[in-house]
Symmetry: C2
């Protein structure tokens, strides 16, 4: 998606460790008009499928998942990363390795809001190695729900998570796929 690629090229910064920093419009300060445009792309791509629920992980997936849920006219469920006193005991969990936080994180989701047969679209701001995605899919499988597809704003193609999903037959739409991020700047997949 050219709009997003242009925005990344203009405002994104590459940090050591192949980190692509887009915290001015996507995951710290957020541009809701951009998110609306991205959500409309997801809507167009997945329009032929029945979707009951948008799922994401806290925290930075929440803005784009919220706007996307409004586009589809369905609820958004965000899986929690921290142990909250409010969530209660009857939960699905999955342990993942967080690249951003450098530790193991337990994803937690109340059984009250994810049911057998629910058709789920996962939406997230970023995908790298696909650890958060693996955790979300574990939880969807544990509930007996169905993964309809995956919508990602920015995929780091060189870290393999998206291609592994596609190789498994998952309908994964990433609106910008970064093939290289280093001293020579950012190069997108054609």
């Amino acid at each position: 998606m050219k709009l997003l690629q242009d925005r990344i090229a203009r405002e994104g910064r590459v940090l050591p460790g192949n980190i692509v920093k887009v915290d001015g419009f996507l995951n710290h300060r957020v541009d809701p008009a951009l998110l609306r445009a991205l959500a409309k792309e997801f809507k167009a791509h997945f329009a032929g499928k029945e979707i009951d629920l948008i799922m994401t992980c806290e925290a930075s997936g929440i803005p784009i998942a919220t706007i996307t849920a409004e586009e589809f006219g369905v609820p958004m469920l965000f899986v929690k990363k921290a142990k909250s006193g409010n969530i209660g005991g009857d939960v699905y969990t999955s342990e993942i390795q967080s690249y951003t936080y450098g530790k193991t994180v337990t994803l937690t989701c109340s059984k009250s809001w994810l049911h057998e047969g629910d058709r789920v679209l996962i939406v997230d701001d970023f995908m790298a190695r696909g650890e958060a995605m693996r955790g979300l899919r574990d939880i969807i499988a544990a509930a007996g729900a169905e993964l309809v597809g995956v919508g990602i704003a920015i995929e780091k193609g060189f870290q393999g998570g998206g291609d592994r999903l596609r190789a498994e037959g998952v309908d994964c739409l990433s609106l910008a796929i970064i093939e290289e991020a280093g001293e020579n700047g950012i190069r997108f997949r054609e």
Copy 2:
């Protein structure tokens, strides 16, 4: 706001410790159509004021803050609670006591996205004692930005945070104020 009060009365549950659980539509599974209606209330109330930025705390404030930012046509900035490898070193911080997580949490905000003179509307899903609010106001003050007002979906009136803000002259709009939550159910402020 009757729409929100009715939704709380119908779907909210009271847990021991005066916890009001609304995780089916506000802070775990989220109803974007409800959030849009709440955001329009904030827009109507604060319409006469110039606002440059909507601010909130991760994670459960993010959905309503995102939709509200779209209503106002301004960016949304969410302050982080966890130490992320991506945020960088040049930050404002404030330590708060988290009621939900039962520990001290450091709010962190990059200096890149909050500037002197910015007119800020804080939006959050909940306010109880007002600890998160205190932390956000610390950060706004440290940046030399200006707090224009506060928009809250659900205020727990009996915990005092909202009334302390109003006593200080802050324009604080809470769309539902719960005066009592216990064995006798939920009672709203008139």
